[in-house]
Symmetry: C2
Subunit: 227 residues, 2 copies
DNA sequence: CCAATAGTTCGGCTATGGTCGAAGTATGAA
DNA sequence: TTCATACTTCGACCATAGCCGAACTATTGG
């Protein structure tokens, strides 16, 4: 019966508006300074500093010092995944605000989920990869030989990915689409390769915008995003 | 920037110890009365009543009245899944208590996750089903023809399951094993069939105990639980 | 009808914890 | 060395919300 409180302590951490803002600001996987996070959360520097210490103590964030700045980032993709899952619950739960601005549409179309691609494009990527037999849908997703060849041609060093401890393929539940998109080391590599190739640009926040060539290239490779 | 607060409100709901206890008490998918939940949470009836109204208002719980009792249950499997995910985070986060009692071992071996089988046995079930080609691992798991025949022979009415709105197969992340087990309508059906067949018995809380014949039958069908 | 059980509502107490001002530390720049 | 920036720590304030006692409603059983 001592099980409830263990979830309570971490949930309480996520339950404060200021901290929730900090965490969602970090959802794009970048590291931000204390002042930047304070502004994102709408609190003063001191307050943010206090929150950040708590989040770091709970291992939700990691910090690194660089000069007189202190950079905080999410401590791992799993934290981002839980946050996405919570957003899904919050939405289904009716807590969804009516405020559906234009930025919202952009977010639903394509955004970063920690370090990989999410939103309509994200689920289209995974769906396309599966349909073409590049990735096999198992309990844990797995690359096929065909997929191996494909992503190598795409410019990704699979050997390097497989050396790391992070799973190469990972299904990550998308809060806006309510389907999975591709996370894991491969998901991260695909996104950064797309940015390198200038298929896609990071906007403010977590929004991603596809260039003209990027959209065409994406559709050719994985099929159109529209369902 | 109004995105943080939406996760904050639901997380705050999960962040109170009393409510967290209530929710974990309901993780086995059964419906419990207000008084039972009050006891599980360690608060008085009035306090529990207040918490339950909030959880119901947020659509995390649904209630139904029966005589002078009011039965509360989780409003869906997705709620249970988020709770399991949070437990995983809490554990990785170091919030794990050192208190690893005997009940803990039983929980890790086999337990209910909402209405399906979780723990070592749960992941063994899914792994075995995949290895035998009963279930194909896609972004969303899918039954093969072979699997269809197998589960029909197991005594499950697949046509009925497929009529419902709930997905038949669903991968659900197991907090103790850190791998997926089988959720969805099929996961629920398999567990209730196992109980019918007296392969397994519900103990107090979410613990499940396999009978001698149950363990043998399970191993024969899906392979041993030990990794 | 009355008594008992189950649950809700109300009101007031209290504590936890978020907030910021002010003062303190560390790093870099002039 | 001196000043400025980035951040942390301390202390005090204050609001939120959890909690329970008491009174109220509803259902059942005698």
């Amino acid at each position: 019966m001592k099980e409830g409180p263990v979830i309570a302590s971490v949930a309480a951490l996520l339950g404060d508006p200021a901290r929730a803002n900090i965490l969602t600001a970090l959802m794009d996987g970048r590291a931000l300074t204390v002042s930047e996070l304070a502004e994102a959360a709408g609190v003063t520097l001191q307050t943010a500093s206090g929150h950040l210490s708590k989040l770091e103590a709970a291992n939700l964030l990691t910090a690194e010092k660089q000069g007189r700045h202190r950079y905080y980032r999410l401590s791992g993709p799993d934290v981002a995944e839980v946050l996405e899952a919570l957003m899904g619950l919050a939405q289904r739960t009716g807590a969804t605000r009516v405020r559906t601005g234009p930025k919202d549409a952009a977010l639903r179309s394509a955004r970063t989920c920690y370090d990989h691609l999410a939103g309509e494009r994200g689920v289209a990527l995974l769906r396309g990869a599966q349909r073409q037999g590049l990735i096999e849908d198992g309990q844990d997703l797995a690359l096929t030989d065909k997929g191996r060849a494909f992503f190598a041609a795409f410019g990704i060093d699979l050997a390097a990915l497989e050396k790391g401890r992070r799973p190469v393929c990972r299904a990550c539940l998308d809060w806006s689409e309510r389907r999975s998109h591709l996370g894991g080391a491969l998901g991260a590599a695909v996104l950064s390769r797309m940015i390198e190739r200038q298929w896609v640009r990071r906007e403010s926040g977590r929004v991603l915008t596809f260039t003209r060539e990027g959209a065409d290239g994406f559709d050719a490779a994985f099929g159109p995003a529209a369902r």
